[in-house]
Symmetry: C2
Subunit: 326 residues, 2 copies
Amino acid sequence: MPWSTCWRPPPTADLGRLGLVKGSMELVDLGRSTAVYEGMGAGLEMSGGSGANTAVGVAALGGRVGYIGKVANDTFGATFRHDIRAAGVEEAHISMVPGSDAPDAEVATGRCLVLVSEDGERTMATHLGVAGALGPEDLDEGLLARTQVVYLEGYLWDQPPAKKALRRAMEVAHAGDALVALTLSDPFCVGRHRREFLDLVHGEVDVLFANEEEVMMLFDAQSFDDAVSGVEETGLLAAVTRGAAGSVVVAASGPVGVRAEPVATVVDTTGAGDLFAAGFLYGLTHGYEPEACGRLGGLCAAEIISHMGARPQADLRLLIKEAGLA
Amino acid sequence: MPWSTCWRPPPTADLGRLGLVKGSMELVDLGRSTAVYEGMGAGLEMSGGSGANTAVGVAALGGRVGYIGKVANDTFGATFRHDIRAAGVEEAHISMVPGSDAPDAEVATGRCLVLVSEDGERTMATHLGVAGALGPEDLDEGLLARTQVVYLEGYLWDQPPAKKALRRAMEVAHAGDALVALTLSDPFCVGRHRREFLDLVHGEVDVLFANEEEVMMLFDAQSFDDAVSGVEETGLLAAVTRGAAGSVVVAASGPVGVRAEPVATVVDTTGAGDLFAAGFLYGLTHGYEPEACGRLGGLCAAEIISHMGARPQADLRLLIKEAGLA
C-alpha cells in the first residue's frame, strides 16, 4: 500500500468525530477515505506503504533490495514509482493498472490517511486501492528466486488475490535458497487471520517480525513472557518490538532484550516497525549477529519516529557508522 | 502558485546536472518540470505557493484572511483547496479550471519543485500552470473591498492576465480603505520588471516586502544602506529581510533593525519570506508597532525554516505568546 498523507495535530476529539480509534489502522473504501480526508486538517503527502518503507530503509542503509507492488496510473501511483526508484530500490517491480484521478475513479492507487496525535501516535484510515489486487501474476519470480530474504506484509493477507501472491512468493523463495520473513503488521490483522498466521509461523516462515500486541494476539498469551515462549517454540528467528521499551530478539540461543535508541522527541510513530525491519534485515543479510540486527532495527526506528512520515530523512549509513555498527 | 514538492539532500553537483542554479527560482514549462522531477531524489509533497503560504501563516496566528488563486481540477488542485481551507483561511476564492492528471495535460495546477541543499538553501523550478492564468475575472471584488490589506505576489507580474488582475486588485483595494502590500518575490523577477515595480512603490503600493537582494536590485543600489535610503524616499512602510542578519523595518520614524530569531538548525529556507510577511501583516492588522511587526515576522520565519516545507507545523499562536508578543 503505497501512499501516505499525514496530519497533525488531530486532537483525540477529532479522531472520534472522524469515527477513528486512536492508534488503530482501519481499512476503508474510497468513499470513506474521501470523507475522512474532508474532515481532516491541512496535511503533507509522501510515499509510504509498510513493505515499501522497509525496502527504502534497506536501500538507505546501502543494502540491495527489490520491491513488488501495484499502483494505478494516477498522480499518487506516479509519485510512488518515482520515489521508490529515486530512493535506490534497485528492482522496483510495480505493476501499473489504468486509472484516473477523478474523485469517483473505480481504480486508484492505495492511500493511507495518517493522523498523528500530539504524543506522536498515529491513527490510520487505509484505502488499499489496487494494492489489494496484487496477484500471483504480478510477481517477478526471477527476482524472488535470486534474493536472500523475501519479506511479506501481513496486511496483504486480507485480500484474496494478494494472499495467493504471498503463498506463491513463499513457494518460489523456498524453491530458491531464500528465507521467508513475515511481519504480522497489525493486531487486528492478526485477530482476523490468527489460525493461518500460526500455521505460517510453524511452517513456511523463517523470520518473524511483530510488535508486542501482535505477538500476544497470535499466541493468545496473557503476558509478554508467555508470548515470547510461544515464539521460542516455533524455532524462528524473530524480532518483537516494544516501542520505548526496545525489542526482544529471539534466536537459537534464546531471547535477548535490546534497548530502544533514545529519541529527543517522538514526532510520528508511523513506520517505526517498517524501519525496524529494514535495519534488522540489513543486518541479517550482512552477517550481523541477531542482537546487532536488533540494534540496527532500533536505530532506524528511532530515526523514523523523530520526524513526520515513514521514509528516512537522515543518512542512515552515517547513523549506523556513528553508532559503531557499520 | 500552489503546490510544492521538496527534496533533500541534493548535492550542488546534482543541481548542475538538472540545469538549476543554487538558490534561484526558475520558471519552467510542464515538460521541463517533468524532466527535472525525473532527475530528482525521493521527495515529499505539500501545498505551497508564496501568497498562499502567507495566508495560511496569518490564519495560523489567529488572523482573519482570504485568498484568491487558481488551480486545475487535478490531484494537486484538490489537495491545495483542501489544505488552505483546513488551515483556517476563511475565504479561499479558488477558481478551478478543468484539468486532468495525464502527463501531457495542457492544463495543470501550478507546481514548484523545491530542492533543499544540506545548508537549508532552496532551489526552485516552478511551473506556474493555471496560476499564471489568474485574471481580473477571478477576483472576488467584494472580498478585496472589505479587507484591511490586499497583499500581492510580485511573482505574478510575469504573467499578462495575472498582471491585469493585480492592477485591478489595487484599484479595488484603494477604492475601499485597504492598504496595498507588495512582495518583490525574487531578484530575477525584480530584474525583469524593475521599471514597473519602481512605479508601483512610488504609486499604488503602501507596504513593501523584499529581501536584501531584491531591494538592492530595485534601487540599483551598490550597498544595502543605499537600498534602505531608496526605500525611505518612497515613504512606504517596508520590511526588508536579511536572512540570518534579521530584518530592517522602515517606518515613518526611520529604519529599525530587528534581529533574527535563533534557529537550532536551518532545515529548509523555503517560505521564509512568505512567513515573515504573515507575521508582519498579522501585526500590522492587530495594532502592533512596526518594530514588533518585524519581530512577529522573524518568529514566523524562524519556525518555517526549522522544518521542510513552507506551511507552519508548530502552533504559531503559542509561539508568539511565549515570545511575549501575543
